[in-house]
Symmetry: C2
Subunit: 221 residues, 2 copies
DNA sequence: GCGTAAGGCTACCCGCGAGTAGGTAGGCGG
DNA sequence: CCGCCTACCTACTCGCGGGTAGCCTTACGC
């Protein structure tokens, strides 16, 4: 049988480093998103990647390094996706709406990325939690800027700024939570999700800005 | 020195089982809340509890059992705290407000409990995640019932019910996120937190119910 | 006082998984 | 056609931490 088998590329061999790194990161994100940082084993990641364990260590370093690389890649993706969706010269509510749509589109398209970023990254003590918290803080501040901008534009200054940070934190949490909910309801489009949130909070903001506030009907307790 | 030391309870010894179980659970909640399930070691828990490791195993079983016991105790505490705060014969918005206040009071008083329930319980694959998700779902359904009740009371039926589940998920997420935010701002009282949320969402709901809806100003894209 | 059961401990086992040593193979310059 | 560098693997080490075997000791009943 001197005939050479004509398909030597079934299990692709001898690929350039960049390609392998991509494969490894893809596998790592997938495994981390399913099991979380601690329960994920390097053996399983290497298996999913179709690569042996030492490859991972030579290319991406330790488990923590690998996880960091995942986090950073997915965070960048998310950030770029949202920024690409925003049109900076629109009024605040439209900016928020477009940002939300882009966000939900991203979550739907890359659910593993979202899971790793949102759920798993907090479970690794130390650096990554801080990094994620930082990203989240920036998102909150961005939203707060929109809200305050809308507030001052309408003339209400002090109160909007005071409660702005808390409200924005709440809004970001609402958006995240709705994203998780949407994972179980894939038939609901990103436009509908964004609209729900806008209806929920923006009308609330609007009323606040107009000076209408809710307060307990009787001041018992 | 035949004189007996009158305070034999400095390093208390030979305590009844119920007391030890309490100490162990307290220590476990504290350690789990700091490090998460996987990174927490039984050795550290035993050290914090002031008790040796075998005690934990004889009294509370395996690590997973111990964590389960923590989750269940803290969940019960939270549930009872919120239920104690609710007055069932008030109108929906007041019920929600009282529930929120009780919730934020609990989070402030037992921040470790909250951390374990909210952050760490999801990181243990399987049963506990399901249990927590279940609790959360019940909370969402409860809120949804309030919202729909307020909606139908005002005459709007179909639309409120349709988006009710998603909106409630968002609201619960907002409440949780604001709870996390409040952990870093202990000077903000539970009443203020609850009021912020009410202003944010209830006014939004109100507008929805009244038929006023937000929509993108121009239907580009 | 003295048996006995319940409270409590020290000192160990052992599997799992992160990380590595050292060797093989295939392509490319010369 | 030959060396050699780089892609790549098999097969190991080793420490951490969950879990346990077996022993000590104090209080209390009789």
């Amino acid at each position: 049988m001197s005939e050479e088998v004509p398909r030597p590329a079934e299990r692709a061999k001898r690929l350039p480093r960049a390609v392998r790194e991509r494969q490894i990161l893809d596998a790592a994100v997938s495994v981390f998103s399913r099991y979380g940082y601690h329960s994920a084993s390097m053996d399983e990641i290497s298996e999913v990647a179709g690569v042996s364990k030492p490859m991972i260590y030579t290319y991406l370093g330790s488990k923590e390094d690998l996880f960091g690389a995942c986090i950073r890649r997915e965070a960048t993706r998310l950030l770029e996706a949202v920024q690409a969706g925003i049109k900076p010269d629109l009024p605040p509510d439209m900016q928020l709406w477009h940002g939300l749509r882009a966000f939900y589109r991203f979550v739907a398209d890359y659910r593993e990325s979202w899971t790793v970023l949102h759920r798993q990254a907090m479970t690794v003590g130390g650096t990554f939690a801080a990094e994620i918290t930082d990203m989240r803080t920036r998102a909150i501040e961005l939203v707060a800027a929109l809200v305050v901008s809308a507030g001052t534009r309408k003339g209400l200054g002090e109160q909007a700024e005071f409660s702005g940070a808390g409200l924005s934190a709440a809004l970001v949490g609402a958006a995240e939570s709705l994203a998780d909910w949407a994972l179980d309801h894939p038939d609901v489009s990103d436009g509908v999700l964004a609209s729900w949130l806008m209806n929920l909070v923006w009308l609330g903001f609007n009323d606040l800005v107009e000076g209408e506030i809710w307060k307990p009907s009787e001041s018992d307790d």
